[in-house]
Structure formats: structure tokens, C-alpha cells
Assembly symmetry: D2
Homo-oligomer: 361 residues x 4
């Protein structure tokens, strides 16, 4: 990171950027209340620190040892003098404030009617964002892959999603599974979701980032937190910091039954919040893979400080074409949202107290 002097001129800043370019590097320019900081994108060893410090307007060059620099909480502290969390804005929804956000809807969009019914219900239940899958990533090529399997189906389903979002006044989120879907989905969706299986797919991340839409990145079920953040950095390095991270479970350990599809790593919530300024939400539906744990683990996630939840809802789980065993009803969702909001309110004073702060930070 290149920390510019207070009041460094536009010309000085551009001179540094040009210098980086000559060394095959790009720049991330962040101007805050205090000063401008230029993050180096690419292999820093191509340019010498000493050289950079001789450039006009440069105050200091500081090396960040992590593979995630632009999303690092320290980085934002440099130009703003504070290390506040980033609030991702989507329509009227704010993700990353102290209030949890609830994203809900069916795993897969099956028909216009199904989606409209569920949308109305989850809105009534208190959901903030409507989710619905069009392009379903599946382990078996022989399983239902979502209505996006045909071009026409994709446009139709995305159209319904947009329509439902507008009708019930909720931003909508859906997964992009491949690069070819990015521009199409960006026409319809308010948040682009990158699923767990694609976390390591850097080309998709870059393409999604460049749409300028907020990107929700799910942690791969075999990825360490460091890898998770390293790939989120690909989005930031593509000029898009409206990143929402999502913990959705990692592979269970040991031999024998695990009783859940994945192990939910709730420590990821406080860890990510300490390492970066990005919000992190939790998806208890995919982690548990069974509806009877959703309520309990939602409360647990909120207590761990998650900025929101993504939950699969179906009004007729038995007929769901995908993941029926983990869906809750919209009635259950309403109760869940209320309980989570109350829990979160009760925890605000706990989190604020000095002693807690010491413990928490």
C-alpha cells in the first residue's frame, strides 16, 4: 500500500499509478477522510519500495503480508482513520449494519406461480431479499439443473424473479454458475451469487465483479478462511468492493455418520469481521441439510455476529425439485426472523460494553 501525503495532488496520484503500470501492476485508489491510499494489485516484488517512496506525494509504502490486501480491515483504516465495516447497499436494504438481513426463497425456481406464492409469503414473514435459483450447480449431470438449462427457460425464470422482486419490493439474488450467464443475470438480479463450488473460479469472480453489482461469495466447503478471503480479493481487485461473504458449511470430519450435510463454521463470522471490513452472512439450510436444525442454527449464527442469513423456503417442501429436506415453510420463517431480530436486539448492549469489547476485539 502506498500511503500518499495529506493533500497529495491528483497529478501526484496519477503519477504513482502510471509508475505502477510501467511495472506491470494495477492500482486500487481509495480516498478517505484523511488521505489517499493506493493499493498495489499484482506481484509487489516487481517494484522496489525504495523507488516508490521517492515519488512525489508519497508518504510511506507499507507491505501487507496477507494475500488479501484490498479487503483487509487495516487497509480501510489507513485512508479513513477508522476501520469501520463496509455496508453493502442494495436498493433499500443495507447489509453489514448491526441489523441482520434475511434472504429467503426457494432453492430452485420451478414456475412463475411457485415463485410468486413464495415471494409473497417470505415478504410477509419479514424477508429483506428474495432468493431463487435458476442455474443450479449439481454433483450429478443427471439431476435437475434448474430452469436455466435452456436459454428460454433462463430468461423466463429470471424475468419472474425480477417481477416478484418488484411486486413485493425486495431486491433479488440468484446464482451465476458459469461465465456465460454473468451478463444475462446482471440484467435481472440485484445481487450476483457465486456458489460454493465456484469459489475457486477466479475468471467467474472477475467477470461477476465487473458488472458492478454486489457479489455474494460463498465459501467453498473445502476452503480455509484464508483461501476464502484470497478469492474475495479477486472481486475487490476487479474494482468491486460490494462483497458479501457467506459461510455455508464445510465438509464434516471423520468416518461414520455426520448427521448434517456440512459442518457450519460459525467462528468464521467473527474471524472474517476482524480480518476484513466485509459483511458475512450464514446459510444454515445448506449446512444442516435438514430443516429441524435451521431455527437453532439461525439463532446461533446471529449470536455469532452474522450480518444476515440466507434460508431456503418452500411452501410445499415435499414437492420441491431440489433439496426439499432442508426447506422450512414461510410460516416458520416468520417466526425465525422475529426470534433472530429479538435476539440481536438483546445482544446489542452486550456487544457494546467495554468488557465485551475487550473480549470481542
Amino acid at each position: 500500500m502506498i500511503i500518499m501525503r495529506k493533500g497529495a495532488s491528483e497529478a501526484e496520484i496519477m503519477n504513482v499509478v502510471g509508475d505502477l503500470k510501467k511495472h506491470g501492476l494495477s492500482a486500487d485508489i481509495s480516498t478517505g477522510e484523511i488521505r489517499t491510499v493506493i493499493g498495489i494489485i499484482g506481484d509487489e516484488t516487481r517494484v522496489s519500495t525504495t523507488h516508490l517512496e521517492t515519488l512525489p506525494g508519497v508518504k510511506e509504502v507499507r507491505l501487507v503480508e496477507t494475500p488479501y490486501k484490498l479487503i483487509n480491515r487495516e487497509y480501510s483504516g489507513l485512508f479513513d482513520g477508522k476501520t469501520e465495516s463496509r455496508v453493502v447497499k442494495v436498493g433499500k436494504v443495507r447489509i453489514g449494519t448491526g441489523d441482520p438481513v434475511f434472504m429467503a426463497g426457494p432453492c430452485a425456481i420451478e414456475s412463475r406461480e411457485q415463485l410468486m406464492t413464495i415471494a409473497e409469503c417470505v415478504k410477509a414473514a419479514g424477508a429483506d431479499v428474495l432468493r431463487g435459483g435458476v442455474f443450479k450447480p449439481r454433483t450429478s449431470v443427471h439431476s435437475f439443473q434448474g430452469l436455466g438449462s435452456s436459454d428460454q427457460g433462463a430468461r423466463e425464470a429470471l424475468g419472474w424473479l425480477k417481477e416478484a422482486g418488484e411486486k413485493y419490493d425486495m431486491p433479488v439474488i440468484t446464482e451465476i454458475r458459469g461465465e456465460a450467464q454473468v451478463s444475462l443475470v446482471a440484467e435481472y438480479a440485484d445481487i450476483l451469487q457465486i456458489g460454493s463450488r465456484n469459489m475457486y473460479n477466479q475468471d467467474l469472480l472477475i467477470k461477476a465483479a465487473r458488472t458492478g453489482k454486489p457479489v455474494l461469495l460463498k465459501r467453498h466447503f473445502g476452503a480455509s478462511i484464508e483461501e476464502f478471503l484470497s478469492f474475495a480479493e479477486y472481486i475487490a481487485a476487479s474494482g468491486n468492493k460490494d462483497i458479501i461473504l457467506c459461510e455455508r458449511g464445510i465438509v464434516p470430519v471423520g468416518r461414520g455418520k455426520s448427521f448434517t450435510r456440512y459442518t457450519l463454521d460459525l467462528q468464521a463470522a467473527p474471524v472474517v469481521q476482524k480480518e476484513t471490513y466485509l459483511p458475512i452472512i450464514v446459510d444454515p439450510s445448506h449446512a444442516a441439510g435438514r430443516r429441524d436444525l435451521i431455527m437453532t442454527m439461525s439463532l446461533s449464527a446471529i449470536a455469532a455476529g452474522a450480518s444476515g442469513l440466507e434460508i431456503e423456503v418452500h411452501n410445499n417442501a415435499k414437492e420441491a425439485r431440489c433439496d426439499g429436506q432442508q426447506m422450512i415453510t414461510s410460516g416458520e420463517l416468520g417466526y425465525l426472523i422475529e426470534a433472530c431480530k429479538t435476539l440481536n436486539q438483546n445482544l446489542i448492549p452486550v456487544r457494546k460494553t467495554a468488557l465485551a469489547d475487550r473480549c470481542l476485539s
Copy 2:
């Protein structure tokens, strides 16, 4: 399981037990409000179901497919007509009621003075049970192994623990690391702890169980929940159902930094409570391995329904001879206990509501 008719006579019961013995099997006899049920200990295939059903007094023989039968929630339902959780009683402390229990103290007992000071403080902070390690399991033979390294040190340290427990009116818990320590520790401690590394040590489990003292069994960091319960079954099969399970974190996934020592699997709490009638507590200290996550993850564990917490406390963490980086102070503990109790109180109505019940069970 052999379900006896209501009013089956003592002679009929003993006849069944004798018959099992002839087949090389043992019996677990549970007499409840409704009837007597005899659990078969050993390989059931040695005796035919049809044969057992001809014995006088036998109503029905039901096979349980899990490797944990005696701790199975279903099993307790058979003789009591209800599938209530077991409450483990230790002095005045009750583990497994709706109210969480707090076990706290130093990782390792270092001196009488250190222990007495911490004991006084954790009692004041609201702890229910005093913990303190005498026999420390360590990855390196070259690390401090606890005062139990010498016979004299072991007796002394155990004596201090008992003394501190009596003085501050708390039952005490300490780890038994090897079989040779079982009878000694049972003289002094109220709860025998089996550490994570010894979860698979069936000979130790059996020996600990036979003391009749409550046993706290920690999940191995590489064990599935099914394996965890299978080894808890060794304790029950040795005639001791005063078992407290403890989730303390599993090995992290992926390559790169995990930021915590272990991954805390909080889904284990509701899963274990559904599968068995045993209480499960959570140890956030060993899972996180860093003190700044303890408060948050304690709240999260209570929200997940844990029956209690085991927390490492030191009044001078920097001088702790073991695991100093994960210790909190007793001041912090007091705040933590209060916050957890309040959180739990707030969640009681949520857990009771019909809708929640459907979600939760």
C-alpha cells in the same frame, strides 16, 4: 433391546439376563415408570431375536441400528414413556436442565496459590464447577506436562483442587490422561474428564466409567459425531450413564491459515440432543485458541442449545504455563456468564413455542 411386559417379575428379568450371559452378552437393565427394558451389550447377532421373544416376560425385541444403543434417546423412551434428557447431578450442580452450567478454571494447575486465587475469582464470576489440569496431554514430550508428571506433584495438585472446590463450594473436574491415573483422580475429583486425544481410548473410558463418577467426554478433533457417540456408549455399557459430552472443535479444512486452532462444530449440540438423552457442553477456549473469540462463541454456543460451557481462565494469562493465548480473566468470565444466562432466559419462550418446536424437533 428387550422390552419386558409390564409387571414382568424380577425372576423373569434375571432369566433373560442369564440367557444373554450364556450367549456371551451382558445386559443393561433400565426400569422406568412404564416397564423394564434390557439393553444387550455386545454383538447381538450371537443370539436370535426369535429365541429371545420366547422367554417368559418378554414382550418384544427391537433391534437398534446405531452403534450407540444405551444412550439413544429412543431407548430411554421405551421404559419411561418419555424421552426426556438426562440430568447429570454433581453435588448441587445439575447439568442438562434448561439452565446452562459454567465450568471454569486454569488450563493447568501451577501452584496452590494460583489455583486458590483463580477459584475464588471464578466462583465470584458465577462459575458452577472448577476445572484445573493436573495431567496435561501434550503433542510434544518436551512441553510442560502438568504437575502430575511426578507422583508427589499429582497428589499435591489434586489435593489443592479438592480443597479449592470445598472452600468455594464448587464440584471439581480434572482430566485423566492414562489408566494409571483413574483411581487416584477419582479420589479427588467430582467429574472425570476424558480429553479429546483419548476419545478413542476405550480401555480408559471403561476404567473411568467404572468409578461411578460422572464422566465428561470430549469429542476427538478428527471424529464424526457417530464415532463420538459410539465411544460414549462404551461408558454407558460399563454401567455409567452420567455422561457429559463436550464439543471442543475439530480440525480445520483446507490449506492456508484457519485463524482458529480448531473449527467449532455447534451443530453438534442440537444433533447430539436429538440422538441421545445426554447433555452436551461446549469448550470455546480450545476451539478458538484465542481469547478474543471466546465471548462471541460462548453466546453462539448457548444459542445453539449447549447445556453449558467449559472455559479456561487465568488471572495472569501471560504467565500461564500452557495455552495462555486462549485464557480470559475472571472479570471477563463474570460478564460472559451473565450475558449467556440472559441470552438463555430470552430464548426459553422461543424454544417453547409450538412453531419453534416443530422447527426444533
Copy 3:
């Protein structure tokens, strides 16, 4: 799988395909020496077995329980009356015969000169296929991403690769990291490599498969063998059975140093060969991540029955821009290839012996 009667007519076959289409399913038609078998692509539950068996020319409908049907060794047995392994042909090279094939070259193409030098050397050392990376998947956006980072760089580097392959008479293989690169790479390369991180990227797999070029699919470092084969099935279901599987290591277990980057799962070789008719090769370079294990593990892989090896070679490992610590020299490669070939020759009689056969199959 729909097994047609011997001598079923083209019209009967097409009638079955049309019927499947009406149910939203596609077909994989395999005509062998004995008969024609039609593999169903998609969710079989959409059509009833009883219905299919009434169609003219249909002998039998057999359900395959695995998520990989078209690559299943059983499947190929049905139409050919034998379950021989598939030999993938690339130019004069044959992959999947009893003789191991050696793919070698630099991790990343750095310059025309570098590539030409290494190509000449690995050819002299006995390599069959030339490898060289243009699009490098990297954990950190700040690391060198290969010459493919710019459009011009990509075309240039691919051109050199093709040129080197032609000059030294070796087919060439390179990785496609994103969908946007598929058609470009297919113009230049003889085998399309899908890296470990993209194993779950079904859209990329389908796009690569449709080029008709042989596809080398590397196992994800967190994937079970069943998942590995399920994703290989995506390639087959896209009409391309020229699939080469590659074991390159999975994430190590436990806490503490693992001494290698990944754990090489050599049991994967015999397992894949039993489950499918596809060849599987081994990449010891990425698994070990250190050059001093390459020789030993190459021998071990050949002894496990691998159909070949992919090895990173650099003539000046210290200056390699990527993974230098795991590169061997072409001199070492020559010795390695010779030793592996000799070992393989020596094992042929062992594998042929009746007793071994019983052990091996």
C-alpha cells in the same frame, strides 16, 4: 441404460431417443460389437422403466445406481461384451494402454526461448506430451497469473506451445481456466486440461467437452473419488468420452506440518480403473510440492498402475516464475522416465498372473 436387442434397427433406436426427448432427457448411443446400448442423460425418474421396456427393439432397461453411468466400466461391457479400458488417442500418443505416458514441461510458459529449450530437453528425455501453462490459476490475485493475462500474451504463448509441439513432435496440453478461453485454447492445444480448482465447474467441463478434444480432468483437492467421477460424467454426457483423469493430491489431514503440499492418493489409480474404463494419470509434482520426492513417488504411481505421469520440468528451477521448488530438470526427467518404464515392464508379468488377477480384480 436401455439395452437394445441384437439387430435393433436404426429406426427403433431413434424412436427410443425421441421418446426420451419427449420426457426431457437426452441419450448417449453406444454401438458395440454385440449390440447398441442407450444411456439416459438426465433424471431417470422422469420416465418409467416399464414404459421404456414396451418400446420396439428394447431388450432390457437397467438402472445404474452411481451418478456416473456413461463412464462406468459396466456400461461399456454391455455393448462390447468386454469391459476393456478406453485408450485415448492424441496424435501418435496412446493413453490407457499398458505403457505409461509422460507429460512434461514447465509450470508456466515464460518466453518462447524458455519453452523451446525445455521442449527440446523433455523430448530428448523421453516425454510423450509437452505441457505448459498459459492461464495459471492462483490463490492470490497478486501472484503471476501466466502470460494469458493479456489477450496478446495468450495468443503468443499458445502459438509457441503449438510450434514447440510440432517442432519436437509431441502433442501439447495446457490448462483452460475459464470458459472464455475454451475456443481459443482448442485452436492450439491437443489436450485441454481442467485444473483441480475447476473440477466442480460444470459449465467449463461441458464447454471443454464440446470442442471434441481430449480433456484431462484433475481431481479437486477436497473431492471424494465419487465426486471426481460424477464431474467426469459431465464431460461424457456432453458427447466426449476422451477423458483422462488425473490424481494430483488432496488436502493433508491433521494439525502441524504435513511436509508435502498435498497428500497423494494413489489408491485412486486402481479404484478409478475398476469403476470406469477411463485412464488415470498421476501428477506427483503438485502433490509433493518439492522436487526430492518426485522420483520416488513417480515409481510408486507406476507401481499403483497409473497410465502415465504429468511432471513439471524447468531447466532453471530457481528462476521459475511459479512453483520452482517442485520442478526437476530434464536430465532428472530422463532418468525418471527410464526407471518408470523399466519398472512397468517388470510388473507386466505380475499383473498378468492368474493369482495376481484375482488379487487385482
Copy 4:
């Protein structure tokens, strides 16, 4: 490690040992061709390097950063001027020379007759050491636990084992599962086996080590190599360096079928041989859990440089009371041993060649 001057006197050596004792540390004294080296057992930070270097006769104090010091290959180099592998001697058998050693026999001893028959057969097949389980570690308390379940059964079965070993002139190996069995087993067995589940059981390791008998330590299925070596160090620190390490498979990754019980980590063989001077053997039976992979993986293990194999053999696998699906017959064993020996002979020149040496070291 305290490196003494050449010709340091006995008194000087004892003075250093006494000094360590005053600091609460023990000593491992190794006198080789060149000089005496004293390994510090315990926490080195208790004593200052500077202080030690002032003691008479001390040449140099060198800190070893690994948690395994006494088994470190570097350590043995210091006093012998060479870093040769240790050869563990058991009767006429030598483990750790260039020639692989074969340990074979039934998973569990079931009767005298069964054992005698198998012993005769495996001897004829070329086995060097007879294995047979008396105390079986099992996941379920309800499974067959071996004849060692009763005191009388234990003595009887151990007696048969000794008898069979004497009759057929093979040293015998059997597992000690708990501390209470150590002295009994040491009366009968030539090598004491510590099973995978007990790798972390430091008290058992110490007790086994102190018998002075060679100890075979199996890697835990969730342990990193560093942890494996750290626990082997417990044996060495208890005064016993006749340690045979054994790789027997680690837990598989990912979701879905793995097709083998465990993942065999053959890189462990060369890694352990580089890090320590101890021999490492491989157990393909438990890793695969299916007999049709045993032959292939045995060859692969020998190619990886394993010092031997431990293989389960049963003449009537279908009636085996434990692990029948992974047993091979003694006829198959004979073929396997012959093939492995031939393979090993063929690899000797490969391993000796200078170029290979560079690759291998």
C-alpha cells in the same frame, strides 16, 4: 542438543546430565564414533544455552526446532558423523535395511487351530513376522473385541501366539490397546503394536517403551506427519529407540463414496525417512479395507521405499470374525511377497544412481 567435545570424560558428561536434572530436565545420551551428544528431554527454555556452553566438556549447544529431536535424522548425524537409518532387530529379523520385511497373520486370533494353520501358511508364503490380534480396538462396544476380553482368553491367545512364533520361527507382534495390558503382552510378544486410535495416547506409549521391546507405532487416521513423529518421540524420550513407524491410511476427503476405508498416504514413507532415522512400514489392508487393492498397493508401497508391509491374512476370509473383506489368503500372500521382493531388487540400482540420489535426497 548438547554436543560434547571429542574425548569428553564420563565425569563431564555426568555433570551436564546432573545440571539438566537440576533444571527439571532429563537427558538422552548418545555416544557414537565421533563424539557424545546429549539430547535434552523436556522444555529447553528452562535452561539457558549460554549457561550450558560454559560447562566443562561442552563443545556446542544446538537447538532443534522440531518437536521430534531424539528421532531426528540430524541428531544421529551428530555423534556418528553419518545419518544412517536405524535397523530394528527382532530375533533374526532386521527392519530398516534395504530389504522389505513382511508381517502377516490374522486380524484377530480366534482359536489355537486357526492361528497355527495361518502361521504355517504365512511362513511358507515367506512372511518374516507373525501378527495376530488379541485386544481389538473397535468403534462399537457391541462388536467382537478379541479374545483378550477376558483375562483367561488373553493369556491363552497370547500363549498360542508365542507358541506359533516359536514353532514356525517367526517373531510375533500384537497390539496393546490399554496400559493394563502392557506387561502381560510384553511377556509373550516380540514387538508391541500401538494401534492408530492410540497414537495420541502418550501414557500408553511411555509404558510400552519402557518394556524395552521394539514398538510399532501406527499413525492416527487424522494425524499430520508432524504429530505422528511428535508422538514417536515420546517412545524415544522414554529410552527406547527401537521404533517402527507404520502408515495405515488417513480419513478420506470430501463427500460421497471414497471406495476405500482410508486414504493411503505413501508420501509418508519418503518423508519419514528424510526426517528421521526410523524405519516405516505400510499396512495396505486397513487402508484399502478391500482385498482387491492389496496386491497393487503393496507394490506401490515398496516402490515408495517402505521398509516392509503388515498384511492381514486369513485362510477363510468369509468366516473371519473381524475385517474379513480385507483379508487375502496365504497363497495370495506368497505371490505378493515374491513380487514385492523382485520389485525391490529391481529398484536397488535406481535408488543408488547418483542422479536418483539427487532426486531422492
